[in-house]
């Protein structure tokens, strides 16, 4: 990891009006609206929502338009490895996501009626930390792909999520529970999408007699796998400013 890249990325990110707007929207206004909901306590304990986080992560990545080949080759002409650049970018984005999610937790905490939330803030903070790192890694991989690759990735994700949602709808609401293939489709779609968006809930996993470490292991292994894939992509990428 390169500290110079990390600090510079944070400065550049937080100077962008769009990013500040996003912080305001997702970190303050959106949670403030949710505190009015009757199920606000439930919402609070699941602040790092999987798909919401994934969208946030990808949006944060895309919000910085300087990642052109012309920019990268100036950076890569300096003595740093491409992998360390990639890791620094991931850390920057994970940091920004953690800040936004922590901000939204603070907003929930400011509402006195939510004091009955059964999950302590320390667990929610751990959830935020672990999940943000994981989703930032997924977004990092997505960002390393060329536009065509991004289209394939986004389409595959949409199909998987769509099949999962459709299958769940059909099997629960229309009396088609006996249709075995639909259940299989739902289960495999959810399984596949959970690979990309495994949500780690430390309270559910660890706050019991026999702690279940598997969600934590899955989240960390997902983070490692997507960072490794990103490193492979960025190291194999041929940069050419002539193509721009």
């Amino acid at each position: 990891m390169n500290l110079t890249i990390l600090i510079a990325r944070v400065i550049v990110q937080w100077r962008r009006p769009w990013f500040l707007f996003m912080v305001l929207m997702y970190g303050v206004l959106f949670p403030l609206a949710l505190t009015l909901s009757p199920t606000a306590a439930t919402v609070k304990q699941s602040i790092p929502q999987p798909y919401y986080l994934l969208i946030l992560a990808i949006y944060i990545q895309q919000a910085i338009p300087t990642e052109t080949d012309g920019y990268l080759l100036l950076v890569f002409s300096r003595p740093l490895t491409r992998s360390s650049y990639m890791l620094s970018r991931w850390a920057t984005n994970a940091f920004s996501m953690i800040v936004i999610c922590t901000l939204s937790l603070c907003v929930f905490d400011m509402v006195p009626t939510l004091e009955m939330c059964p999950v302590p803030d320390s667990y929610i903070l751990w959830n935020i930390f672990i999940n943000c790192m994981e989703y930032a890694a997924v977004a990092q991989f997505y960002n390393q792909l060329r536009p065509f690759g991004q289209f394939i990735f986004a389409t595959a994700l949409a199909i998987v999520v769509g099949i999962g949602q459709l299958a769940t709808l059909l099997t629960t609401g229309t009396g088609m529970t006996k249709v075995e293939y639909m259940e299989q489709a739902a289960s495999s779609a959810q399984g596949f999408s959970s690979m990309l968006t495994a949500n780690c809930n430390t309270y559910e996993a660890l706050n019991r007699l026999n702690p279940d470490w598997s969600p934590l292991v899955i989240a960390l292994s997902n983070t490692a796998i997507f960072l490794l894939l990103s490193a492979c992509v960025v190291n194999g990428r041929e940069l050419s400013y002539a193509e721009e």
């Binding site: 510079a8 400065i11 300087t66 080949d69 080759l73 100036l74 002409s77 050419s240 400013y241 721009e244």
Partner: protein
């Protein structure tokens, strides 16, 4: 020790061969001009030297190592044709970023940055402005300052004078000359051929992915000579053309008062003058002219491969 060594390098994208059997070496302190028409492969050659693209075949070594090695990155500076910047940073912040990336001591940053900005003559009033407000020429100056920041031993500059005004162009020439005196190896690609002529010790002419010529600048400009004759206005074109045909000389340019012959052997000149006078051409003035790089470039582009 050879600083840059390229042997039988070929780069192709599918069936499209961009560079063919490129071989050359560069000694320390040389200033090499890479020239060629658009699409000749200059940028791809630089990409290979920077380790940004992998050659399809052949070997590229910079200081005896792979162009992608960290050790090479520490001694190499690079200015792309169209550098892209973090536009939310100002010029000083951008250079501080590169100063730190280069691994230089932070305590020296302020001094180094100001020295680089002074060298590229960036107006002090603009140094704290966001880069997004900069003109094309100012961006180019910041890009050049970025090359200076790393104290490189090898500099690769792609169109360094692009977008610069005449004072900027001469500033680039001064920087390259300073590097040459300091023993820095420079590879420069430019369409400002007069600047290449003034600053480079050798020049490589790339055409359709091949090095068509690679000569010392002195060889080029001395060997290519033109002989210009002037006469009073009159229709002497048929006589001049007849003499040229008889002596097997080519006429580069002809008007109602003058003609310019391409001379490969200076011993032909007395004979040419004698023949012209015999043919009734009233020669008033005759002089040698060395061909400049621009006219050589035009000749080379028009040559059949």
């Amino acid at each position: 020790m050879t600083v840059i060594s390229i042997e039988n390098m070929t780069k192709s994208y599918g069936k499209n061969i961009v560079l063919k059997n490129i071989s050359f070496s560069v000694e320390p302190g040389e200033v090499i001009g890479i020239i060629g028409p658009n699409g000749a492969g200059k940028t791809t050659l630089f990409n290979c030297l920077l380790g940004l693209v992998q050659p399809s075949t052949g070997v590229v070594l910079v200081n005896g190592e792979s162009p992608r090695s960290i050790a090479v990155h520490k001694i190499r500076g690079f200015l792309p044709e169209r550098p892209a910047f973090d536009t939310r940073l100002n010029a000083r912040e951008f250079l501080l970023f590169h100063h730190q990336l280069a691994g230089l001591p932070f305590r020296e940053a302020k001094r180094d940055i100001e020295a680089a900005l002074d060298t590229v003559e960036l107006d002090p009033k603009t140094r704290n402005k966001h880069i997004r407000k900069f003109s094309r020429g100012m961006l180019q100056r910041v890009g050049l300052a970025q090359v200076l920041i790393g104290r490189p031993k090898i500099c690769i500059l792609d169109e360094p004078a692009s977008g610069l005004d005449p004072t900027g162009v001469s500033m680039v020439r001064r920087i390259v000359e300073k590097w040459r005196h300091e023993g820095t190896t420079v590879l420069v690609s430019s369409h400002h051929l007069d600047e290449v002529e003034k600053t480079c010790s050798r020049v490589a002419f790339l055409r359709a992915g091949e090095i068509a010529r690679f000569n010392m600048m002195s060889e080029l400009t001395l060997s290519a000579v033109r002989f210009m004759i002037h006469w009073q206005a009159g229709n002497f074109a048929p006589a001049v053309e007849a003499v040229a045909a008889r002596l097997e000389l080519s006429i580069e340019m002809q008007s109602i008062t003058c003609a310019c012959f391409e001379i490969l052997d200076r011993m032909q000149v007395p004979l040419l003058l004698e023949e012209l006078l015999k043919a009734g051409v009233p020669v008033e003035e005759a002089l040698f002219e060395r061909k400049n790089l621009e006219s050589l470039f035009v000749d080379w582009v028009n040559e059949q491969p």
